[in-house]
Each structure stands twice: as structure tokens, then as C-alpha cells.
């Protein structure tokens, strides 16, 4: 008999800058995406981990972010064609360091409300907490995790796992 909190799918990309999980079952209540990420980026330009739902490439995503950098705290907004999930480790950071990232999506399969996600991230010398919004009432059946900079690629050791949580 299936459990309450169970893995749905896992990916361990060693290249490329996006991973898509399709045909996500609607039989859960919440989804949790747990990632351990590092990219091969070496430039100093900003690069963020992000997601899309159901292949929606329109400007339907926004987020509010709280960030600490070890000496000060800031808050800012993000909006566009992907949902901001945080700055992650890259080849500018010490070898072997990967970013922990957890995305929690509550009630992902309802068809009456927009989808809100809570994101917890640490990487590139930042600690970040975010609330993200996808302005669609569609049930989520596909999730793409990606780097916003198309020149960045995931490196070996990166893992991304989706879990489903059921409610009574």
C-alpha cells in the first residue's frame, strides 16, 4: 500500500540546463521538490534556478524573496516567464559545494486557485526564502526545473527529486 509521503520521480542530470517531469499524478495533495544543484557557470553574471509548470512559457510567474548574505538582509521581487527559486552554487564556488533547494507546492492539483509555492534555498553565499505564484488555475501535471541562464549546465552530482504527499 502506498505511503503518505513518497517519491514520484528522480533525475540526476550531468549536463543540460533543464529537467522536466511529465505526467505528474493528481493523486497527492502537495508536492515537494528537493534539489541538490551545482552548475558549470564561471562568469560572474547572475544565474538563478527556476521552474515552470505545465510548459507555460508566458509571463504568469512572480515571487517575493527574502535574502541574507552573511552581513545584511534584503527583500526583492521577481516576475516573468519562470518562477524564481534561488541563486545556486556554480564553478565560482568551492569544488564539491552544491545548493540545497526545497520547493513546496500546496494543493497543486486543485483547479480553482492559482498555485502558490514556498521555496527554501541556500547557495552562492545566500540564504533565501521565497513565496512564488503561478497565475493559473490549471492542475499541475508537468514541472520543469531549469537554470535561467541558457549558458549554464547542471554538473554531475546534481539531483532533483519530486515527492508527493497525501492527505487523509
Amino acid at each position: 500500500m502506498p505511503g503518505t509521503y513518497e517519491p514520484i520521480a528522480t533525475s540526476s542530470p550531468t549536463s543540460g540546463n533543464s529537467v522536466t517531469f511529465n505526467s505528474i499524478s493528481s493523486s497527492y495533495t502537495d508536492l515537494i521538490i528537493v534539489s541538490s544543484i551545482r552548475t558549470d557557470k564561471t562568469s560572474a553574471s547572475s544565474d538563478t534556478y527556476a521552474l515552470r509548470f505545465n510548459g507555460d512559457t508566458n509571463s504568469n510567474y512572480s515571487a517575493v524573496i527574502m535574502r541574507g548574505d552573511g552581513s545584511s538582509a534584503t527583500s526583492f521581487k521577481s516576475s516573468g516567464t519562470t518562477m524564481f527559486c534561488g541563486e545556486v552554487a556554480d564553478n565560482n564556488n568551492t569544488s564539491g559545494i552544491f545548493s540545497p533547494n526545497i520547493v513546496s507546492i500546496t494543493n497543486y492539483s486543485n483547479s480553482t486557485t492559482y498555485k502558490t509555492a514556498i521555496i527554501q534555498n541556500g547557495g552562492n553565499n545566500y540564504l533565501e526564502r521565497c513565496a512564488g505564484l503561478w497565475r493559473s488555475t490549471s492542475a499541475i501535471n508537468s514541472i520543469t526545473l531549469m537554470m535561467n541562464n541558457s549558458a549554464s549546465s547542471f554538473v554531475s552530482g546534481t539531483t532533483i527529486t519530486i515527492y508527493g504527499i497525501k492527505a487523509a
Partner: protein
């Protein structure tokens, strides 16, 4: 072997001989409270919470009939000085930190507009209640909550620690709003986590 409910007609498995061993797992669903379309609720109560777990987790998508602050109370305790919390929040332009000592409830998403009343948008909240069955120490909570409206003025992400100054085991949780009522599509699920 399957069994049928005389009351509802629903079928499920029996735990009698002939079926595989059933292990509910280390993260188990205890109960869920929802507010149906077109309805409201002044409070969602989880009662008779078993002590068979080590920690509890509330996972919520909450809406209010007005933009509001959420109250969480344990064991129906509304004593005026029994709850404390400390909070970090970011609203898209500034970061704030504050605390509430000696209050009558745990405050969640407490900027006053934290619980969404916007059509189609809910506030996402995950609260961990640690060692809830222990009778030797006060109970502590950790909550992350957020509401994003794409508005620029009322968006918020919050991280909150809380305490209920009682050594009683938590056997009941009440979730309500400060001044309004829980609105349609609110969904609150309670889970137990085993050690």
C-alpha cells in the same frame, strides 16, 4: 480481503488475515479540514490527536473573507499570555524582524494582510510542531509562510518561531483568523512524523 462500509458504501482493505501487512509509514496523514466552495468557517479544529508520533506538521493553503492574520491555538488554550513568537519577513522591498511575547494565540502570516482574501490566491503555510507529546517542556513551532499576489505591496514571505508555554501534550489544534473567517478553498492537513 476487502470490506464495504455499510454507511457510505466505500470499500477498502481489511486488516484481518489474508491481507498484506499495512505500515502507515513514518509521515502519516492524521486529518484534513477544508472549507467548501461558497462556505466559510470560523475555525478548523483537529481534536483527539494521538500521541503516537514525535512531531506534527500542518500544511495549509489558506484564504480569508478579509486579508487577515492567522491564529493557531493548542488544547483550546486562549490564555492571554501563553504564546510567544519571533518573525523574519520580506515584502519585496524591505526585511523586517519582530516578536510578540505573551499573546493569546500563535500568530501566523501576521502582517495583517498575510492570509489572502484575493479570489484564486491562497497563502501557503507549513508549520512544524516539535515534540508535541512531551509533558516536560514548553512546545515550540517553526513556520514558513508566504503569499504572493503579483501586486508589489502586499506580497510577503515569513519565517516564524513560536512557543506555547505549556507542558501539556498537544491533543487539539484550532486554526482561525484574527478578525474574519476562513474562506472557500482553504485546505489544512495535519500530519504526524515518527522518530
Amino acid at each position: 480481503m476487502s470490506v464495504s462500509s455499510v454507511k457510505t458504501g466505500a470499500t477498502g482493505i481489511s486488516l484481518l488475515t489474508g491481507n498484506a501487512f499495512y505500515d502507515p509509514g513514518d509521515f502519516a496523514s492524521i486529518a484534513t479540514g477544508t472549507v467548501a466552495a461558497g462556505a466559510t468557517a470560523s475555525v478548523i479544529t483537529f481534536s483527539s490527536i494521538p500521541t503516537t508520533y514525535t512531531h506534527l506538521q500542518l500544511r495549509m493553503l489558506a484564504r480569508g473573507t478579509a486579508s487577515d492574520t492567522m491564529y493557531v491555538r493548542f488544547n483550546n488554550d486562549s490564555g492571554a499570555t501563553n504564546y510567544d513568537n519571533h518573525r523574519l519577513n520580506g515584502n519585496g522591498s524591505t526585511v523586517g524582524a519582530d516578536g510578540r511575547i505573551n499573546y493569546s494565540a500563535l500568530f501566523v502570516s501576521s502582517r495583517g494582510y498575510g492570509i489572502s482574501s484575493t479570489v484564486n490566491i491562497g497563502s501557503a503555510i507549513v508549520m512544524d510542531i516539535l515534540d508535541y507529546g512531551n509533558t516536560n517542556k514548553y512546545k515550540v513551532t517553526k513556520t514558513i509562510s508566504g503569499q504572493e499576489y503579483n501586486s508589489g505591496s502586499t506580497d510577503d514571505i515569513e519565517y516564524t518561531s513560536g512557543s506555547w508555554k505549556s507542558t501539556s501534550a498537544v491533543n487539539r489544534i484550532d486554526v482561525s483568523l484574527a478578525t474574519s473567517t476562513l474562506a472557500q478553498y482553504t485546505h489544512i492537513a495535519l500530519y504526524g512524523v515518527k522518530a
